[in-house]
Amino acid sequence: DQQVKQNSPSLSVQEGRISILNCDYTNSMFDYFLWYKKYPAEGPTFLISISSIKDKNEDGRFTVFLNKSAKHLSLHIVPSQPGDSAVYFCGAKVGAQKLVFGQGTRLTINP
């Protein structure tokens, strides 16, 4: 039972444009959401998070939007840079319970 889904396995965006990565979830009890970025041969690194009491959180070029009614969150990167090319995982959790991840989306930024 995949509670967190990233339906796009890959995404290709031109440098300077906006990258939008999507994530859907099924558990309405999730109260905290996180995005991680992973380069090859490295562990994932934390990018940005959002609590369920908010609908938007912004950090520099990265913004996460949460639509609780649709059980959907998205990560916007603008402007996209070549160094943003990586696999992005969204994760969700309920309180102190385990963090569950989606399958990941491979983002490629083309020069």
Partner: protein, 115 residues
């Protein structure tokens, strides 16, 4: 400060052998996770330790897999009678502290290859 460390970084073993993978979390972190990533796949949850609570073992794929966390710090993931399908990168993450919602910090992973 030191991050999450894992050892070994690479492990090649023969089918049927047992392996132990080690995770040293960030000092003071109460939460510790094990995940694995098979080739081309996402992050598969394996087991979760939170403080002194009973671990959440719901992600362990079979009884050949077990993990322990000694003294609330170092954790060892043991795979008995390894199979080729166990080949993957095994990732450990730690998190927690005073707040309820904290990001998890991942180690670099152990790449396990079962021949």
């Amino acid at each position: 400060g030191a991050g999450v460390s894992q050892s070994p970084s690479n492990k090649v073993t023969e089918k049927g052998k047992d392996v132990e993978l080690r995770c040293d979390p960030i000092s003071g972190h109460t939460a510790l996770y094990w995940y694995r990533q098979s080739l081309g796949q996402g992050l598969e949850f394996l087991i979760y330790f939170q403080g002194n609570s009973a671990p959440d073992k719901s992600g362990l794929p079979s009884d050949r897999f077990s993990a322990e966390r000694t003294g609330g710090s170092v954790s060892t993931l043991t795979i008995q009678r390894t199979q080729q399908e166990d080949s993957a990168v095994y990732l450990c993450a730690s998190g927690g502290g005073a707040g309820l919602h904290n990001e998890q910090f991942f180690g670099p992973g152990t790449r396990l290859t079962v021949l």
